[in-house]
């Protein structure tokens, strides 16, 4: 129970903290922005409530101080400035760190109390002219329920009044008709009537016993609503619902969402994949049926087409379900950038653009580690110390920009800095020193290609291993992580002007079920959905036919091709021939292979470069042991 509560809290905290941080970042630039103050206040206030449930009292004290300061700013009793916004930001960064600590160790670090006291003092210092605070207005739950029922976004355009009228049970005897009273309320937007206690069976119901609650929302002024219910004023409650600012209305108009465990979605993906395989096997049944009953085959074909459409639609929906915005995956970066930059004595503005770009959850999850490494690298080796920047004629404050964009089926992630850039001559020297490349080969490399050497295994440009980026993992680890996710990484750099790291990743990371086959000395993978059946026959069953070979398989003659020959190798002779039967249009074609390998669920990466021009190659896939296999498209291979 506690664990569930904690898990819920972690999710919530990691939504609220970035919300507050984003608002505070903007307040640093524009300290009087009322909507940002509100937004930060709301996030801090909500978070404070949740924090109280866990053993993290220092976080509660820090949040209370931050909330207090923001509330005063809201009420106009104190003016925020860049310094107080920075203090608030420091509060949020600290709480963010503590949330991580709670997750990792179940408790706050020992110095939490002392740090909290310091932060509370800092926040308190800015509110010397303290006045007694106003009680915070809390929207009653009955109002929230009514607002939930409001179907349109009318609240965005006008102030409203929510009312709740609970007539007493004997009101009919006094001549009251609650509905008639409510009908007199002008500009009704929502009206609901619910039983006060559940309806009894109608054979025992007392028609003169009033058992209803009338609730609603009117766009009329409060006085007009109260006037309509004047005679029953003691049985009614009212609540003003102020017009919503744009910002809040976006939140309330947002599509309703609920959380689903990732595992359940993955199950769904698996089941849809299995269904696709079943759907594919229907194709061969249709062909078989056509031999004996044309009419039945026709009906089956229609049915098969519908099934295929349904499966395709399901696959698309499932892919869509797994899409998440990239923002939350990198939400910790801004804090880490501030911490790392501070540690290095560098002054850096970090911006993130395109946080709402949607990608597959699995891709989003793989982003953080490589990006953190790239960010560290940029802060450590890219952006110069302030005095050095000024000497080079640049602003003292460096800029680091992370940008997500979508391009077709790909996610482009670019991390650019305006630092020193990468000196390709130095890269070459180091690469030669470390035996990554010969000096002859290096002479042939242009600057752009030389720069890519930073991704070579064993390469590290750090002359001295620093605390920040020298951890024994180089850029090759980043490249490996990106490639494992089906992507690639490129670097562009200009000495003196900065560098740009570009990650290209697939938007979707749905795995494909593959069968590994052996032909000669090579292993290949074939997508399961391209395989109609597999079989093992004796060499004697194979007969020459025309210029080629064929065999009889389940009462039909099937042409036979050798996979080794299709990929440009010579075939190996064997008594037992293993077959993968695939489909070429509607005809079955058997591919002879030497052995069946394992079945794997793996991501198929589209091929690029030279391989893309080879017909019959659907992509490549990375095996668990690090081998890269070509994924074949049998149909195009045969054609």
């Amino acid at each position: 129970m506690m664990d569930e509560l904690l898990a819920q809290f972690l999710i919530e905290a990691r939504e609220l903290i970035p919300e507050a941080v984003a608002a505070l970042e903007r307040l640093r630039l524009e300290p009087a922005d009322k909507s940002q103050i509100d937004s930060a206040f709301r996030a801090v206030h909500t978070l404070k409530g949740s924090v109280a449930l866990f053993d993290m009292a220092p976080a509660g004290r820090v949040l209370h101080a931050a909330e207090d300061l923001l509330d005063r700013a809201r009420g106009g009793r104190v003016q925020l400035n860049a310094a107080s916004s920075s203090t608030l930001l420091a509060c949020m960064d600290r709480v963010d760190g503590w949330v991580d600590a709670i997750e990792a160790n179940g408790r706050l670090p020992h110095d939490a109390g002392a740090i909290a006291a310091r932060l509370v003092r800092r926040s308190g210092g800015a509110v010397e002219n303290a006045e007694p605070e106003d009680p915070i207005q809390i929207v009653p739950t009955w109002v929230e329920a009514i607002l939930d029922r409001e179907p349109n976004a009318q609240r965005a355009t006008s102030d409203m009044v929510a009312f709740r009228y609970v007539p007493d049970a004997a009101c009919f005897f006094r001549g009251d008709d609650p509905l008639a009273l409510v009908a007199a309320i002008p500009e009704m937007v929502v009206l609901t009537i619910q039983p006060l206690s559940p309806w009894p069976e109608i054979d025992v119901i007392d028609p003169f016993h009033c058992n209803i609650v009338l609730e609603g929302l009117s766009a009329a002024p409060m006085a007009a609503v109260q006037a309509a219910l004047r005679v029953v004023g003691d049985q009614a409650n009212y609540c003003a619902v102020p017009r919503q600012t744009d910002e809040i209305s976006t939140a309330s108009d947002a599509i309703r969402t609920f959380r689903v465990e990732e595992r359940r979605i993955d199950n769904l993906v698996d089941h849809v994949g299995e269904l696709a395989v079943v759907g594919n096997s229907l194709a061969s049944i249709v062909v078989d049926a056509a031999r004996t009953d044309v009419a039945l085959a026709q009906r089956l074909r229609t049915f098969q087409a519908e099934l295929d459409r349904g499966i395709l639609a399901m696959q698309r929906s499932v892919i869509a379900v797994r899409l998440v915005p990239v923002g939350p995956a990198v939400r910790r970066l801004p804090r880490l950038v501030r911490e790392i930059a501070e540690g290095l004595g560098k002054n850096v503005v970090f911006t993130i653009e395109g946080e709402s770009t949607e990608v597959d959850k699995a891709i989003a999850d793989t982003l953080f580690e490589p990006l953190l490494h790239l960010v560290r690298n940029a802060l450590d080796h890219g952006i110069e110390l302030p005095e050095r920047r000024v000497a080079a004629g640049k602003p003292a404050q460096g800029s680091l920009r992370l940008r997500f964009t979508r391009s077709g089926e790909q996610l482009h992630v670019s991390l650019s800095d305006d630092g020193a850039g990468i000196d390709s001559a130095r890269i070459k020297t180091i690469a030669i020193e470390r035996g990554i490349i010969s000096s002859e080969a290096s002479a042939l490399l242009d600057d752009g290609s030389a720069t890519q050497l930073i991704f070579a295994p064993g390469f590290s440009t750090a002359d001295q291993v620093t605390d920040v980026s020298g951890r024994g993992v180089g850029m090759d680890a980043v490249r490996r992580a990106v490639e494992a996710a089906g992507g690639r990484i490129e670097v562009e750099s200009q000495v003196g002007a900065g560098s740009n790291m570009m990650l290209v990743l697939p938007l979707s990371a749905i795995t494909t079920r593959l069968l590994v086959v052996v032909a000669g000395d090579d292993r290949y993978a074939i997508p399961f959905d391209r395989i109609a059946e597999t079989a093992t026959v004796t060499a004697g069953q194979i007969v020459p036919l025309g210029g080629g070979e064929a065999l009889v398989l389940r009462n039909a003659t099937v042409p036979l091709l050798h996979l080794s020959e299709l990929v440009g190798r010579s075939r190996t002779a064997s008594d037992r021939v293993r077959l993968v039967v695939t489909r070429m249009n509607t005809e079955r074609v058997a591919l002879a292979i030497d052995a069946f390998g394992e079945r794997v669920d793996s991501m198929v990466r589209p091929v690029s470069g030279l391989l893309a021009t080879v017909p019959g190659i659907a992509g490549t896939t990375l095996m668990g042991n690090g081998d890269v296999l070509l994924v074949l498209d049998p149909e195009r291979l045969i054609g």
Partner: protein
């Protein structure tokens, strides 16, 4: 008479006052599957609405009064009600 039976359908017409609630309940108790036609209904007392909400008969027809149409009819229409809503 603003509540009557016609062809086994319970018809609510004109101004349906509190007295009608008891009669409506009586008709529904006799046969819970009877349709209730609201197409001639101008006003409805809370007690009448209450009976309709508790008994959940199939509703047919849209009341004349716009307030009833907009705010009360949606509360009464069950999944059994014909979607067209015209009088039978």
């Amino acid at each position: 008479m603003s509540v009557r039976i016609a062809n086994q359908i319970i018809v609510l017409e004109g101004r349906c006052r509190i007295e009608e609630a008891e009669m409506l309940l009586g008709y529904l108790l006799e046969d819970g599957d009877r349709l209730v036609d609201l197409s001639g209904c101008e006003t409805m007392h809370s007690a009448v609405v209450q009976i309709l909400m508790a008994a959940k008969p199939v509703i047919s027809g849209r009341p004349i009064d716009p307030f009833l149409c907009a705010h009360i009819l949606p509360l009464l229409e069950t999944e059994r009600s014909p979607s067209g809503g015209g009088p039978l």
